[in-house]
């Protein structure tokens, strides 16, 4: 197998890696915000549940969580879902990254001075208006560096889909390398991750610059 063939064989894998990446962000960025807001609930039982969720999810390997999502329904609940591989994969990723984003949002929200809330209150803004117009825009700017870190980690974490035998780029690299006894597929995979992260870093840097219109 020459280089071109290896590369074109690995292309579907790259697309699948990109798919996991995109779906995870689309799911975990909003879910993380919901979790962060639930953590401030008036009901102790909700706060307790969210704390446990964040603690367990951040305290165990994502690889292990993917296995739990995949095998859990059958072995724990005797449910046979059919084509469960991809949903389990995405649920695992989204639930995992939501926990990290929730804590990033919480840190950002708590770093906003109470004076902002008080000024908004006296001016007559509702709680929702205060959050959407005054607090959230400032939070977004503050959390950008942390969010960038998480996104870069996500690019690389997509390789964990290997655990569920999902043929993203790393799995394919491993397969082709074994069958062709060549190291080249790993080089291709490595370059793919590096270029992907370079693009991410570039985009995030542009976003941070755009938000730099005020200090």
């Amino acid at each position: 197998m020459n280089f071109d063939t290896m590369f074109s064989t690995m292309m579907p894998g790259m697309l699948r890696s990109f798919g996991i990446f995109t779906l995870t962000l689309v799911g975990s960025l909003p879910l993380g915000m919901i979790v962060a807001l639930l953590k401030k609930s008036r009901f102790a039982i909700v706060r307790g549940f969210i704390s446990v969720y964040i603690s367990v999810i951040r305290g165990t390997p994502l690889m292990l969580q993917l296995l739990v999502w995949y095998f859990g329904p059958f072995y724990l609940f005797r449910m046979n879902i059919g084509d469960w591989r991809f949903p389990a994969l995405i649920l695992g990723f989204v639930v995992n990254y939501a926990a990290y984003f929730a804590e990033i949002y919480r840190g950002g929200i708590e770093s906003i001075p109470v004076g902002q809330y008080e000024a908004a209150e006296v001016l007559g803004y509702s709680k929702t208006q205060t959050f959407m117009r005054i607090i959230l825009p400032q939070v977004i700017k503050r959390i950008m560096p942390s969010v960038t870190n998480e996104i870069i980690t996500l690019v690389k974490d997509t390789s964990l889909a290997f655990t569920l035998a999902y043929s993203e780029v790393f799995s394919l690299a491993k397969q082709i390398s074994a069958s062709q006894t060549s190291f080249t597929p790993f080089v291709i995979a490595g370059v793919f991750y590096f270029v992907a992260n370079y693009v991410v870093a570039f985009i995030m840097s542009r976003i941070e610059k755009a938000l730099d219109y005020y200090k």
Binding site: A119, G124, Y213
Partner: protein, 252 residues
């Protein structure tokens, strides 16, 4: 009577911060509140502007009751929607300005009028530019707060409060975070507002200013109003010992 605060009591956990405060503000009056730190001056202002809830007493704006004490001794407030109307009567200028850093000056002034009072963009901008002109900073309308000096930021904060067309404007130590040079420009604005008969309550440490601009001075200490009256009486001829003691510090 724009504002009536009757027999206000407020405690934080075990600490009684306001012990039985009563004072009124009539239309066009400028009332200064002076006193040592911890006397409850800021808390009184925060209760008047509904940032804090009172534990006892009565708050009335324009003759309408916003909060009163029921028979069991608990303070009862009107509903959320009604409170919204009361909030529109008062504006508050903070010691730390609390401008919205992600909005430029113009947006800081127009956002609340547009989205809370539902005024049109044209009306809000016209009001804003007029106020900025009065404050002497019309040329800074497109600037962001971080680009302004402290004195400019506080003037924007005053304009932001005025843009909501309140009946009464409260100032919580408006110049305490400013150096002496910048303090002057803010005091000038407040003096101008006083001349225009804007009803105001100013908590301040600037004694000469309080004496020159107010119609009435309240001296507070440890949660009570120790003495109140005409500025010349309170400053030049204090009756109470605590007042004399406090004012002595400023004679140095």
């Amino acid at each position: 009577m724009i504002l009536e605060m009757n027999n206000i009591r407020k405690h934080f956990d075990d600490l009684e911060v306001l012990k039985d405060i009563s004072f009124n503000v009539d239309s066009g009056e400028v009332v200064s509140i002076i006193g040592p730190s911890g006397s409850g001056k800021s808390t009184l202002l925060r209760c008047a502007t509904f940032l804090e809830t009172i534990d006892g007493g009565e708050i009335k704006y324009m003759g309408k009751t916003a909060a009163h004490t029921d028979d069991s001794g608990k303070a009862v407030y009107v509903s959320h929607q009604e409170l919204h109307v009361f909030r529109s009567y008062c504006g508050l200028v903070f010691q730390q300005f609390n401008l919205f850093p992600h909005y430029n000056v113009l947006k800081n002034l127009t956002d609340a009028p547009m989205h809370v009072q539902h005024r049109s963009k044209e009306e809000a901008e016209a009001t804003a530019m007029e106020l900025l002109g009065k404050m002497g900073i019309a040329d800074r309308a497109e600037a962001y707060p971080y680009q302004l000096s402290g004195g400019q930021q506080q003037r924007v904060a005053i304009a932001r409060a005025l843009a909501m067309k309140p009946e009464i404007l409260f100032f919580d130590e408006p110049t305490s975070a400013l150096d002496p040079e910048l303090t002057g420009e803010v005091l000038k604005v407040i003096r101008q507002l006083a001349e225009e008969k804007m009803t105001m309550v100013v908590v301040t440490h600037e004694m000469p200013f309080a004496k020159a601009v107010s119609n009435r001075v309240l001296f507070m200490d440890a949660g009570v109003v120790v003495e109140q009256g005409d500025p010349h009486d309170v400053f030049d001829n204090p009756q109470e010992e605590r007042t004399k003691q406090f004012l002595r510090v400023f004679e140095r």
